[in-house]
């Protein structure tokens, strides 16, 4: 990090390398119902990050012995396409993908009324087509919408965003360059109406004060993502309603 001075990521007047303010999120566009063969699907463009999510279920659990007698089994599969990052990535799941699949499942699980669908499976398939930072946050946020599209009853949407520390400053919605050269990365997933944090991770080094500020900034960021999610739902179902009106 010694030569990071040569290429500054934040200018003196607090503008980041992609032109954003410190607490500004990237342009985010969600779209529901983009796939034909799934029960629910969503697509997100989050800056340059592009992710497609498909939900299958609730459907018969397979293999059967894994079925839970009192609730649905939720599984998440987070995978990055081999061409989604700078260098070719082997399509075999890495340790990172295994861990992210687990934490994403645990971030979405609390939102789903799993006890409505005993003995079934709800499978969430996430395919990162292009990765430019915060892919787990974008995945969780888009997967919430795919679950909505599948008509699965939920307690709330799960909105997710990350705060990083770059050149000693806290920045909202970390992109790839900031993530790679920054001092820390802290993603959070949040259900606003429940005041429930369903994912929180951090790596890097931050002081206790920075930690407190990060939590506040993360809540603000999640609320902005939440708003975008709601707009996407409204847009999707408004289209459906106007189609019904035509009949």
């Amino acid at each position: 990090m010694g030569d990071s001075k040569i290429e500054r990521l934040i200018s003196d007047d607090g503008i980041r390398c992609d032109g954003r303010r410190l607490d500004e999120i990237r342009p985010i566009e969600f779209q529901l119902g983009v796939l034909k063969n799934t029960d629910g699907s969503a697509y997100v463009e989050w800056g340059k990050t592009k992710i497609l999510v498909g939900v299958m279920g609730p459907r018969e659990s397979h293999p059967k012995h894994l079925a839970l007698s009192d609730k649905a089994r939720v599984e998440a599969y987070y995978r990055m396409a081999s061409f989604s990052v700078e260098e070719w990535k082997s399509p075999a799941p890495s340790r990172r993908e295994v861990e992210l699949s687990k934490v994403i499942r645990e971030a979405l699980g609390p939102a789903i009324f799993v006890d409505f669908f005993p003995r079934t499976s709800i499978d969430i398939f996430i395919e990162v087509l292009q990765a430019d930072g915060s892919t787990r946050c974008a995945s969780i946020s888009a997967a919430s919408l795919a679950l909505v599209d599948a008509g699965i009853p939920m307690r709330d949407l799960v909105a997710s965003i990350a705060v990083g520390k770059v050149e000693g400053k806290l920045v909202l919605d970390v992109q790839d360059k900031e993530d790679k050269t920054g001092e820390s990365d802290m993603p959070m997933a949040y259900m606003p109406s429940k005041n429930a944090v369903t994912l929180l991770q951090m790596d890097g080094q931050i002081t206790h004060d920075e930690f407190l500020q990060s939590i506040e900034l993360l809540k603000k960021g999640c609320m902005e993502v939440y708003k975008k999610q709601k707009e996407a739902i409204e847009k999707h179902f408004k289209g459906a309603v106007s189609k019904m009106e035509e009949v």
Binding site: G109, S184, M191, L200, G204
Partner: protein, 276 residues
């Protein structure tokens, strides 16, 4: 089904007991179980440590190997953390490749160590851009009585703190070992503390039966100077932002207590602790 009913009954019992600040094993909510640390347990390893937290038992071993650096950090050594769940450690463990629980554990332990910069990897370079030391930190779970993350992190840390590394010398293009041993380039003593949220209460150092019924798990690692260096929320429940702040406060106090214990325990065996 029976496996799910018993924890449900226990959960009620654990929550009721916690209302008076007690736990099934007699601890208060903020008590940590007894910790024992036995370093140098495996002589053939470059460093090792057998750690117990209550009944939980974990052994970590360090092995050095000469290898190639990563292209983006050609002048730095490489640290790799792995976790193996030995089948006799729990009736729930099965033989085979590490599953997602083992992968998560290894990656959480790895982050705590890596992000605190516990090991100065710039001192592990042999020939810049060509040969570096690869440090394998492998943790074996031997007996699972709860809180594997803290036990694994502590075993890995204490094994590193007491490890020595081989000295290499370059002759022409060849890398040879002098047979001498050098101290590890250690720069910090990061401590990981895990809490469980059960109902509306936080339980420090959850036991196995508490883990079976928890809503979620919260782990945070602190450097010596009090900075946070890793966080992981785990399992399928949620935690509120207010509870997170409380958990971090409690964990900070606990991390200082544990660090004191580590320093005391290791000083008995080795005066070089914390010395670069």
């Amino acid at each position: 089904m029976s496996q799910r009913i018993v924890p449900a009954v226990k959960r009620k019992q654990i929550i009721e007991l916690s209302e008076s600040g007690r736990r099934m094993d007699g601890r208060t909510l903020t008590d940590y179980r007894d910790i024992s640390i036995q370093t140098g347990f495996v002589e053939k390893a470059d460093g090792s440590s057998l750690v117990s937290i209550g009944g939980t038992k974990v052994v970590a071993g360090i092995k050095f190997e000469i290898g190639d650096p990563f292209p983006d950090i050609p002048n730095e050594g490489v640290m790799q953390v792995g976790a193996e769940f030995v089948p006799f450690a729990s009736p729930d463990f099965e033989p085979g490749r590490p599953d997602e629980v083992a992968v998560e554990l290894a990656r959480v332990v790895d982050r705590g160590l890596r992000e605190s910069k516990v090991l100065d990897t710039t001192k592990l370079c042999i020939i810049p851009g060509k040969k570096v030391w690869i440090v394998h930190v492998d943790v074996y779970i031997l007996d699972h009585c709860g809180n594997l993350i803290d036990a694994a992190a502590l075993a890995a840390l204490t094994a590193m703190l007491t490890a020595t590394m081989p000295e290499a010398c370059i002759e022409g293009d060849a890398v040879n070992l002098t047979g001498k041993r050098l101290p590890m380039p250690i720069t910090d003593i990061p401590i990981n503390v895990t809490l469980a949220k059960i109902g509306s209460r936080l339980f420090v150092d959850p036991s196995f039966e508490e883990e079976e019924v928890l809503d979620c798990r919260f782990s945070v690692a602190f450097k010596e100077n009090g900075m946070l260096c890793a966080i992981q929320k785990g399992e399928s429940g949620y935690i509120t932002p207010e509870e997170i702040l409380r958990a971090v406060e409690i964990a900070r106090d606990k991390s200082q207590e544990i660090r004191k214990k580590v320093v005391e325990a290791l000083k008995l065996k080795n005066d070089k602790v914390g010395e670069p």
